[in-house]
Point group: D2
Chain length 406, copies 4
C-alpha cells in the first residue's frame, strides 16, 4: 500500500484532462449495454466470448488490482471474490475462474457489477485529488492510460460478443439500430505499388502503445502492391458461388480440415433466405447482404483461400504498416480489421515486462495471426498504424476482413 | 381447430375444481422463481439442466400446443417462434432448439415469458366457460391433468437445475432459506423381511398416472429384505473415509471408468473446509454436513458401490413397490429418490400411445435406471407408489439417494 | 505355490478326457489364425476389438495366472511382462495395458506368442501327470474348464474382430472361404404362443456354466408369442427402403441420437454396389446380400427400431429361455445372437465370487443388453439355453440379429 | 501417356549416375526395416506417425504416380487400389485413405509392398534405357530427384515413427544397436555475435531444393548472438529440477495449456528409474540419460520455455541460415533439428507450382514452426543450410532440440 507524501516539494497531482478521459471511457462501456437487458448481459455464447457483464466487471477489476491496490491509501477490495471471478489471463494473480463458465455467473447481478464500477470509479477519481512523488505520479498516470486502452479493447469485445450471442437466437434480435456497421469504400479498386526498401515499423515516441508494438526496428520489404480498398461482400459471394468452399486447392491444409469439420459454406453471419438470396445478421438484426460493403466475419483460413482464388495473397504486417499513410489506400481504419499473413511474433529486441502486467501480450505469441487497422466497432482514439491485433486462424466473430496484396 | 357445439344435449363443461387445481399448480411454478433474478432464471449450467425461464416457458408451450391448439376456438399462437424454442423432446412436432443452447436464449426476456404464461393461463381458463361434447370434454380434462403433472415434474427440475447452477458459483449463493432439504429418519435402521411371492405392480384404477406405470401386472419376487430407512451422510462419509472411491472392487466396471474420468472423490455437492470437515452445498448455501440426514446427489454408480461396500444391494422396483405400504418403512416419499437396480423398461403389455404425446416416456426406455419414491423437491400430490422416475446411471444433480436391500 | 502331496491316500489325478478337451480347444484357437498373416494377427481396428495375437496370448495368460501360478510346482512366469500385457479386465491383478493400444504391441511377435502357448500347454499337460489332494484336484479341474470356456469366448471374438479389421480394408479381403456364415431358416415364419405362467430360468445341475447364469429362480411371465425364425436380410432391407433410418418415431431417443451422430443408414457391413444393389461384407469378402439369410451386425437400437416398425417387440430373456426347447422355434442356436429387451442384471440371489475371478461377469451388469442363443461363430459345445451373452446397445460387430416377440 | 521419340536428333537418355543414386536411396529405405518384423512394420502408434510399411509403399507410389504414369510407355498401375491406399496429402489425386487408419492396413502384406517396390524400381530403371526429347528428359530427371529427396524425408520418418511405436511397448525394445544417436558437442559453450545487416536467405543456383526454399531474398536482421552449441540433457534436467514444468511464467499461454492438458513433466522419452535417475528411451532401448548429449524430443513450447528460463530466446530462421557457415557454430547438422521462432510462411515472391505436386509444401504454411539444420536420423546428403523443416508447436516425436539465441 502506498502512503502518499504530504511534502510540497517534488510532488505532483494527476492531470485533470486524464480524469475527463477516464470518465469518458468508463461511461462509454456502460453506454454499450444500454440496449441490453440484464439477461442479455449475462449470456455467454462460446468460451471465446464473454458476457457483457463480465467485460464490465473485468475492466473494473483491472483498475482495482493494478491501480487502487497499489496507490490507494487504506485499500480494501470491493468484494474479495471479485478478484478471482473477474481475473482473466493473468496467471501471476491467483487462480482463474474457468473461461467457459462465465455465462454461469448469474451472481453477482448486473446491478452489483454496476455498483462495483461506480465504487471503483469514485475511488480512482479520488486519486486525482492527491499528490504523489513525481515518479509515482508518472507510473500511476501510465497505468491509468493502460487501463483505459485495455477497457477500449473490451468495448469492442462487448459488441462482437453480444453480436455472436444474439446471432444464435432464432429471433435474430436487433441490438441497436444505431450500432456500427462497416462502411463502403468510396472509390474504385486499384493496385498501389511500393518499391523494395528497408522500412521501419513499430512504435517510437511519446504516444500510448502496447508493449508488442516495440521496439521500432528495420525490416527489408521486397516490392509489392496493395489493394486500395477491402474485399467486398459481392466479391466474396462470387468466390462462394464459384465453389470456393468446396475446392481444397484454394485452402491451406489445416484450413480445409477446418472447413470440413465445421461444415462451413459461407462467412459466419451469412444466411440464405427462402429464395436463395444472401442475408447477413448484423447488430441491427437480419438484413439483405450489401454487395458493396466490405466482407467481414471471415477467418484467416477463409481470407487466405479467397486470396488464392483471386490470384493474390494477404499482406505482411510490415507491408501494411509501412504503407499505412499512403493517401490512395482507403478503409485502413474504422471499417474491418485486416488479416495479415504475419504470425504474431515478438519484434527483434522485444522484452517482456516484469510482473503480472508483463503477461499482457507476449504470452500469446504463437499460433496467432496479426490483424491491422481497426474496425467499425473499435472505439475512436484506439486506432493507430502500429497497432497489432491478433487472433487464431479460426476466429470469425470479430469484425475481420480482407485487403489483398500481390 | 375444434368448434364447440352449442346444443344443450350431451355437452359438458370442465369441472371448476380442475380450474382451481390448474391455477394452483401454475402459480406454484412462478413462486419457485421468486427468490431469483432474471439473470438467475436465464442461466444454464450444463446440457442436462435448463434455465428456470425455459421451464416456465416449456410447461406453458405444453398447454398451448396440446390443449389450446386443439380445443381453443380461433386458436393463434402467442408467438410463432416459441413453438420451436420451447419444444423439448417431441420429435414429432418439428425441429428442436439445441438443448445445450438454452442458456443463450436471453430473448425472449423473463418478463415476456411471464406474459406468455398469463396469456395462456387466461385462454385455458376461458375454456372452463365453454361446453364441449362429452367425449371431447373428457379428453380435454385428461390432457389438462397430464399438463399439470408435466408441470410438476418441471417444478422439481427448476429446483435441481437452479441448485446446480448456483453450486458452480464461487459465491455459493443461497437460493432460499425456506427451500426444501431432505429430512432425517426418526427411527433406528432395521431390516424388514418380505417373503417370496407373486406380486402385482403397476397402476390400476382411476387416479392419474403416466403411461409407463401401466399395465398392472404380476411379477415373481424371491424373498428379500429392505432397510427401514435411507443411507445417511454419516454412513456414506464412512465409505469415503474407507477408500470407497479408490478401490475398484466396489464398483461396476463402467462406474469405475466414470469415477476415474471425472476424478470423483465424494458426492456431488460435498466440499471439505480448510480443516478437512465436510460441508454440503444446499439450496440454503454452504452448510456443515449433517451426518444424520440422508445422503443425496449420488449417481447410480455411487449407490451401487456403496451397497457393495456395505454388503448389500439396491432393491428392484418390484421389491420397492410391492412393499411400499409397509408401516416400518420410513422415508419412502418426500425425502430423496431411491435408486433401484431396475433398468427402465416397458411393463409387459405396455403400448405407446399414438401421436406426439405417445413419445412421452417409452422413448427413454434404454440405459436408464428407475428411481422410486419422491424427494423433498417433489410437489405435494405428485408422489405415488407406482411412480417410475428414471435417470442415466451417471446422473447426480437430482435429489437421489440410497435404500439398501439384501 | 502349491506343493503336490505324494501320499497315495485321498489323492487324485486329472481326468484324461479333460486333457483331450484341453488340447482340442487350445489348438482350435490357433487354427482360427491359419488364414492370417502375422500382420493380420497384430492389427486392432477399434478399442472394442483386439488383435488375434492378443486373444491367443490373453487366453494363455489366463491358464498361466489362474492355474499354473497356483498349482504348478516351481512355478515361474514365461515372461514377467506378459502378466501385464495380456491381462484384460481383472483390476485385481495389477495394472492393465490400455485396451486401445493393443494394436501397438508389435512385440512380442506372433511367433513368441505361439511359443508362449506351447510352453503353457506343455506345463498344463504336465499337471495331468501329477496327483493332488481330492479337493485340490476338483478345484483345478473346475478352473481348467472355466479356462477352456473363456478361451471359446475369445475364439468367437477372434472371428468377429478379424472380420471388423478386414472390413476397414478397401481391398475387402477374404478371411477364409470355409469360414462360418449364418444359415437360412428352413421353414416359413409363424408366431408361437406361450401362456402366462411362473417359469424357472437360470442354470441348475452339473454342467458347466458361468456365474451369471445362477441361481435358477422363478419369474412370472405374461402370455406372449415368439417368431419361429429370425428376421431376414430381405425383411430388414424393406425396413431400410421404407425410410426406417430416417424416421425418429421408430427409434428410442438415445438410438436416434446414435443414428444421427454416426450417420447410420444400414447394418454394419452392408454396402450398395454401383447399381444400388445391396452387398454384404462377409468372412468370404464382399458378396451379394442374401435376402433369405438372417440379418446380422445390427445394434440393439436397430433391432428395437425394426421391431417397432414391424409392430412387434424384442423378447425378454425369460421369455426366450423358458421357450427355448419348443420344437417349432428354429435358429435358436448357431445362427446369430438374438437381442433381448432385458438389461443385463444379476439374478435374484446372485453373489459375486471372491478373488480376481469374481470380477468375471458381475462387473458389467449396467447399461448392457442380454443376447440369447449363439451364432455361427460360436464354438460347438459353447451354446446352452441358459447362456447370457451381453453387449452395449451400440454394439454392431458381433453376429447379432433379431427374433421378434409380441 | 508419353510416347518416347525414336529419332536420334534432340533426344537424351537419363544420366547413369542418377540411376546409381536412385538404387542407393531406394535400397537404403529397405535397409532401415531390416531390424524389424512384418508386425513392427505394420504398427501405427498415433495418427501423426505412419507404419514403416506405409512409408515403403507411399514413396513407391510417388514414383509410380508422378513418373511412371507420365513417362512409361504402356503404363498400367501395379495395383489399382494402391493408388488410393498410399496417397498421402495430395488432395488433387482422388480421395485419401484416413491417416489414422494406416495401422489397420494389414493387407497388402509387407512382402507385397516389397514386391511393389521391386516392380516400380525395375520399371524406373528401364526408363534409363530409353531416350526422350531433351525437355522431357530434363523434366523426368528433375522429378526423379524430387522423388528421391521425398524418399529421404520418409527415411527419417521411418526412424522417428518406429521409435515412437517401440516407446509405447512396455518391453522397451531395442530397434538396432547401431542406430543413430545425437552426438556430443566437442567444445565449450560460447556466444557468437553477429552484427545487424541485410542478409540474403533462400536457395539460389543449381542444386536440389524444395519449393519452399525459394526465392532467395533479402531480410534485415538486427544484431544477435547464437550459442555455439546445442542445449544439453544436463542443462534441460536443471530446468526440470528448477520446476520448469510447474511455473507458467516460463511458458507461452497455449504452451501452458498443453503442459497441463497432457500432464507433461519432462521431454518425451525421459523416464525416472526406481531411484529417481533419468533414463531415456532410445533406438537402442532404455539407457541412462547422458547429460552431455543434446536434449531432443522437445516441442516448440518446451524449447521456448527453456529459453525463457535461461534468459535467452530461440533464433529466427534468417539468423540461423545467415550464420550457418560460421566456423564457431557446432552441431548445425546431423545432430538434432533446431526449433526457430519463425512461423512457417512463404518467402516473398514464393509461388505454388501448378498440379498435384504444387501442393507439396505451401499447403502447410500456417500454425507450424520452422526447424533448421538436420538430425542424426537425416540421411546423408539431405542436409543444407537453406532447408526448411517444419512441425506444429506440439510435435515431440522428431529429433528436435534447442539452439539458443539472444
Amino acid at each position: 500500500m502506498h502512503e502518499p507524501v504530504k511534502s510540497p516539494v517534488g510532488v505532483l497531482g494527476l492531470p485533470a484532462a486524464q480524469l475527463q478521459h477516464f470518465c469518458a471511457v468508463r461511461s462509454a462501456s456502460v453506454s454499450l449495454t444500454a440496449p441490453l437487458s440484464a439477461e442479455d448481459c449475462a449470456g455467454q455464447s462460446m468460451p471465446d466470448a464473454s458476457p457483457a457483464k463480465w467485460h464490465l466487471a473485468h475492466t473494473t477489476w483491472f483498475f482495482e488490482t493494478f491501480i487502487l491496490e497499489k496507490f490507494e491509501p487504506d485499500f480494501a477490495p470491493f468484494h474479495e471474490s471479485f478478484r478471482f471471478l473477474f481475473n482473466s489471463y493473468y496467471n501471476g494473480i491467483g487462480d482463474k475462474y474457468p473461461r467457459g463458465h462465465r455465462g454461469m455467473l448469474t451472481r453477482p447481478a448486473l446491478s452489483q457489477v454496476l455498483a462495483y464500477r461506480e465504487n471503483v470509479d469514485a475511488r480512482v477519481a479520488r486519486l486525482f485529488t492527491l499528490e504523489f512523488p513525481r515518479a509515482v505520479a508518472h507510473e500511476l498516470s501510465s497505468l491509468l492510460e493502460l487501463g483505459l486502452h485495455h477497457e477500449q479493447q473490451h468495448q469492442e469485445l462487448i459488441l462482437t460478443d453480444i453480436k455472436h450471442l444474439l446471432s444464435l437466437n432464432p429471433l435474430f434480435p436487433c441490438y441497436d439500430e444505431a450500432a456500427p456497421r462497416p462502411a463502403h469504400a468510396s472509390a474504385l479498386q486499384a493496385w498501389i505499388d511500393f518499391p523494395a526498401s528497408i522500412v521501419e515499423i513499430g512504435h517510437v515516441g511519446a504516444g500510448f502503445h502496447f508493449d508488442n508494438e516495440e521496439p521500432r526496428h528495420r525490416q527489408f520489404v521486397e516490392a509489392y502492391a496493395l489493394s486500395s480498398r477491402l474485399v467486398t461482400c459481392g466479391e466474396f459471394a462470387a468466390f462462394v458461388a464459384d465453389g470456393g468452399y468446396r475446392d481444397p486447392s484454394f485452402w491451406l491444409s489445416e484450413g480445409w480440415d477446418f472447413v470440413k469439420a465445421q461444415g462451413l459454406t459461407q462467412p459466419l453471419y451469412w444466411h440464405r433466405d427462402s429464395e436463395g438470396h444472401w442475408q447477413e445478421f448484423t447488430l441491427q438484426g437480419l438484413r439483405q447482404l450489401d454487395p458493396d460493403a466490405p466482407v467481414t466475419h471471415v477467418s484467416y483460413f477463409e481470407a487466405a483461400a479467397f486470396a488464392a482464388w483471386a490470384g493474390a495473397r494477404l499482406p505482411t504486417e510490415a507491408e501494411w504498416e509501412s504503407s499505412a499513410h499512403h493517401p490512395a489506400l482507403a478503409q485502413l481504419f474504422g471499417t474491418v480489421w485486416q488479416w495479415t499473413s504475419s504470425s504474431y511474433a515478438p519484434y527483434p529486441g522485444f522484452s517482456t515486462s516484469a510482473g503480472a502486467l508483463g503477461e499482457y501480450n507476449g504470452k500469446f505469441m504463437v499460433n496467432q495471426y496479426v490483424l491491422r487497422g481497426s474496425s467499425c466497432a473499435t472505439p475512436v482514439g484506439h486506432s493507430r498504424s502500429t497497432y497489432r491485433n491478433f487472433f487464431p486462424a479460426t476466429a470469425r466473430w470479430q469484425f475481420t476482413g480482407i485487403r489483398l496484396a500481390r
